[in-house]
Symmetry: C2
Subunit: 353 residues, 2 copies
């Protein structure tokens, strides 16, 4: 077998290259293509090695590792969540990820995932809504207009045909920024003065707030029959967005129950409260929305397989792109067992200069 060349090199997608890759593809096309990978992986859910994320909590936030594997590829994401970060000009959430070949254990991709996570979270929400939202929904309330908001809006536009957005944020400037960013992109936008106003006439309600606490962004009286709730912001212990009564009236769909029971809205419910796994709906085993009056709730917390799908998608995109650098990440001695000899040869090289 010929020895492959440049075994030390791992392709690396920087933030700048990720932006250029997304822009060259087009944001909506990127979201649609990514959604195909996410759906594909949900459909073969049972082939994944799954576990709750590995979290390290501290007073101000959390650092998490999210690994998974389908037996051929292995992926993990590093992601932090620090709501106070914005005070020092930092992101609440930053992330990077790695995709590896299971046969050799060698990484095949290292990429920024702050932008990619925003895209995959939005694409996953839209994939879930395809199966759960009322048919032909055209109006979405979007409550919490932070870093995730435009991506959610564009994913629902691209995948479901949402045309009208009703924005609300406790910080009106955030809603105005979101409206300004999205207006040129073909969405009709209303900036609302309250969450109550935002949900008026909305068939889909997306919540994407960021406080690390139990909040009540939606109260029970705000939720009419037939609505689909896409709850994105409640995603760690002690951080929820919906009043418990809403959960009791909803059919609840989750990614991976052992993780969602810890992190999702359903941490407010009994540990055996019935939920449906999203993959069973996507694979056709179970039905998502059965009737027009039903309230459906996607209790999204983000799962490792979605990052895996995103890593897989980016890896495939790089095959026809130059939006990456080559990173000298892996020691590659001429003779594999001679790691120390590599140092000696480097020394000889330096001495010779």
């Amino acid at each position: 077998m010929p020895v492959p060349q440049n075994l030390n090199i791992v392709p690396f997608v920087s933030v700048e290259n990720m932006m250029d890759l997304v822009l060259a593809t087009g944001v909506e096309t990127f979201l649609k293509e990514l959604a195909v990978y996410i759906e594909e992986d949900f459909r073969r859910w049972e082939s994944f090695d799954k576990r709750p994320r590995v979290a390290s909590h501290s007073p101000d936030g959390v650092i998490e590792l999210m690994p998974t594997s389908d037996g051929r590829l292995y992926g993990f994401k590093y992601v932090n969540g620090h709501p106070k970060n914005t005070r020092t000009g930092r992101q609440t959430v930053t992330a990077f990820g790695v995709l590896s070949d299971v046969d050799s254990g060698y990484p095949v991709l290292l990429t920024e995932m702050t932008i990619l996570t925003a895209l995959r979270t939005a694409a996953t929400s839209a994939v879930a809504a395809k199966y759960l939202a009322p048919r032909n929904a055209r109006t979405m309330a979007l409550i919490g207009n932070g870093a995730q908001s435009e991506f959610q809006a564009l994913a629902f536009k691209a995948l479901l045909g949402v045309e009208q957005l009703r924005l609300y944020d406790i910080d009106r400037a955030a809603s105005e920024r979101c409206a300004r960013n999205l207006s040129p992109l073909g969405l009709q936008i209303a900036v609302c003065a309250s969450a109550e106003e935002a949900v008026e006439g909305a068939e889909i309600i997306t919540t994407a707030t960021a406080d690390k606490q139990n909040a009540t962004i939606l109260t029970d009286n705000m939720i009419g029959p037939g609505v689909h709730i896409n709850a994105v912001g409640g995603d760690c212990p002690g951080k929820t967005e919906l009043h418990r009564d809403i959960l009791l009236r909803s059919d609840i769909f989750v990614e991976y129950p052992p993780q969602t029971r810890i992190e999702g809205e359903i941490q407010q419910l009994a540990p055996d409260h019935a939920v449906t796994e999203l993959w069973q709906v996507i694979s056709g085993e179970l039905i998502g929305r059965r009737e027009a009056q039903q309230i459906t709730l996607f209790d999204s917390v983000g799962f490792a397989t979605e990052d895996f799908s995103a890593l897989r998608y980016v890896r495939d995109k790089l095959a026809a792109s130059d939006h990456f650098e080559k990173l000298d990440l892996l020691a590659d001695p001429d003779e594999p067992r001679d790691l120390f000899g590599m140092l000696l040869r480097r020394q000889a090289l330096i001495s010779a200069v």
Copy 2:
């Protein structure tokens, strides 16, 4: 508070820069300085958030994530173990790691760790031997002469004053390579024809073989009284190096029992077999070697805190070094909540060119 600049940048130590950093420091000095960090962190063992490594096993190997935190810094290592890799010119073990600031969740260092792991494993072995090996040991048998061997030899030379090495490997060429690499560095070396010959007169026996199976590198009759065994190679389920009878005669010291019981030599013993935690010896709570006739065994599997120490050491070294690159890893929008706006501004920039 002034907003820090270049929040997108994470210092990155490539393989080449790691080699240059090690060479500029000197291998033995590097090992000694690193050992100080390792000892320091073992001494404050109780301040660490500890868990067994997060392993993903496949037929030919394993991919692992090893996170830990002391509440101020968070570190993790990605490491694979694939014994068959050498057939395709790849390393059995490759690794990279990240150190992060717990307060913000932002990474402060990304580094290759293939070379660094070899160094930290060797430094940890030597730290353990400082407390466990017979006083004034000068001769070490080194069985298994793969990528780890020279690092072990130099760590024991630098930290314990070992002068004589007795090498054995089933592949004699490996022993000869090891001898060739080490001879100029001030060690007296004998290449031996068998493990039995290698252990003759050795006060310390280091085993560092790589087969993923239960092997018997050392049998009971080879181990005389007073010896210190440094068992490095047995480090995953189904992979051991020592005959069980040796374990029954030894006082066994381990890093983190919940992990060692799964991965170490002691997987051959009852789950409640008495072992001593190395940190208790290093912190002075318990005594390591009590008497000359005692057989001590360091059942080393490698633990996350050692990688943490290594990451911390490298981060500190970089303060007075230019052996790193600046990686554009983290999205850093001008306004933290405006991640999408960053894409829009990038688009405007590209369009203007």
